[in-house]
């Protein structure tokens, strides 16, 4: 896990790029409307969801490419190592270096745009959990489209993100209307753990299939 974290940290473009793109979208969004417009609050939720989707795709694009092309995965299998563990660690590293900062930035922009007025901790966790779900799904897409280009992965897994988007939309609705959203947060948390584990396993199966 620490090794993966360190490896990802060294590839600055891979983790800083998505964060910067997310920040730029969030900055560009109010500029496209009137800054004092009431539309800012009403349309912020949709912009946040779409940005998170896009960033999850960007941050997972090619997540396994390097290890696949340089033969690390192949060597791991031939040595009897666990591919699931390798994928698991890779995803964990991306959650720490990409998902969490994006969740933090998402929260800050939500507050700045007036979409969230209280329950900051719940909002932060909610955005983080949905990031985990989306990243896990897009990592699966990335595993499918290894050496086939990113588009194939996106079109094949994008429909799976629909339940997460629905859930997150409800969560944002409840949090912006100051309704108790702890149940939805728990649901998002549980779903993120299950999704993460299932998709890590699926990714390892698909990568193994590519290698075989």
């Amino acid at each position: 896990m620490i090794t993966e974290l360190f490896k990802l940290f060294q590839r600055t473009r891979d983790w800083l790029g998505p964060i910067l793109i997310f920040t730029m979208i969030m900055i560009a969004f109010p500029l496209s409307l009137n800054i004092y417009s009431a539309d800012l609050i009403s349309s912020f939720e949709s912009v946040l969801v779409i940005s998170l989707l896009m960033i999850a795709f960007i941050s997972c694009d090619g997540i396994f490419n390097e290890d696949f092309l340089d033969g690390s995965f192949e060597m791991l299998i031939s040595e009897g190592g666990s591919l699931f563990q390798a994928v698991f660690e890779k995803l964990c590293a991306s959650f720490v270096l990409i998902s969490f900062p994006i969740a933090l930035a998402g929260l800050l922009f939500s507050i700045a745009n007036g979409a969230i007025n209280q329950n900051y901790m719940i909002a932060l966790l909610g955005i983080f959990f949905v990031n985990i779900i989306l990243n896990s799904i897009f990592a699966f897409g990335s595993a499918i489209s290894l050496n086939k280009g990113a588009i194939l992965g996106v079109i094949s897994v994008l429909p799976f993100s629909m339940p997460a988007i629905i859930l997150f939309g409800r969560f944002l609705d409840s949090i912006s209307s100051n309704i108790s959203s702890i149940n939805l947060l728990q649901l998002l948390g549980g779903t993120s753990i299950i999704t993460f584990l299932i998709f890590s396993w699926l990714c390892s199966r698909i990568i193994k299939l590519h290698i075989e």
């Binding site: 699966f140 499918i144 086939k148 194939l152 079109i155 094949s156 897994v157 994008l158 429909p159 799976f160 629909m162 339940p163 629905i166 699926l202 199966r205 698909i206 299939l209 590519h210 075989e212």
Partner: protein, 202 residues
Amino acid sequence: MLLGWIVGLLFAPIDAVQGHSYRIIYLHVPMAIYSQLIYWFMAIWSFCFLIWKIKIAPSMILSAAYIGCMVTFLALLSGSVWGIPTWGTWWQWDARITSTFILFIMYLALLTVNNSFQNTNTADQITAWIALVGVINIPIIKKSVDWWSTLHQPASISLTTESSIDLSMLIPLLISVIGVGIFLFSLGLKVSRWVIYRRESD
């Protein structure tokens, strides 16, 4: 199928609210039902393939994807045509319509993925995994009219509760559903024969 359509289109009574336009139900409802059923069929074959490596399963999955894609497209198209006289619009970003549109994209994605790999075994296994994971969307499509307040009406026919549709309209509808099912089954046999032939010749 033809019997159901003839009775439905010519002899079923006129709807008090929608007039004659409701008759598209005899095409739209069977297509909508089978668009989801075919996905279940595909998912079951995917499961069988991944567990027991049944040789015929990939051909069945692929055939189902072709037919499912066509059926879902027809369901969307007939719904859209029905939308004009009843809602005054061809399209609405409503939960049921959007989720069915996503189902159509899922069928297309499966076909694209299957065609993207040179190695047939890799393509088959990846397609099966995607089909299996995609099942998560089917209950959402089914329940979308209950979970959200949508423009699309809730289900008129149910296995557990009394149907809200009159018997004189319901009987031709059931005949259409059964008829379309038989037609799709025979079409499925033809498509799967073509798929098997194409795969074997490759």
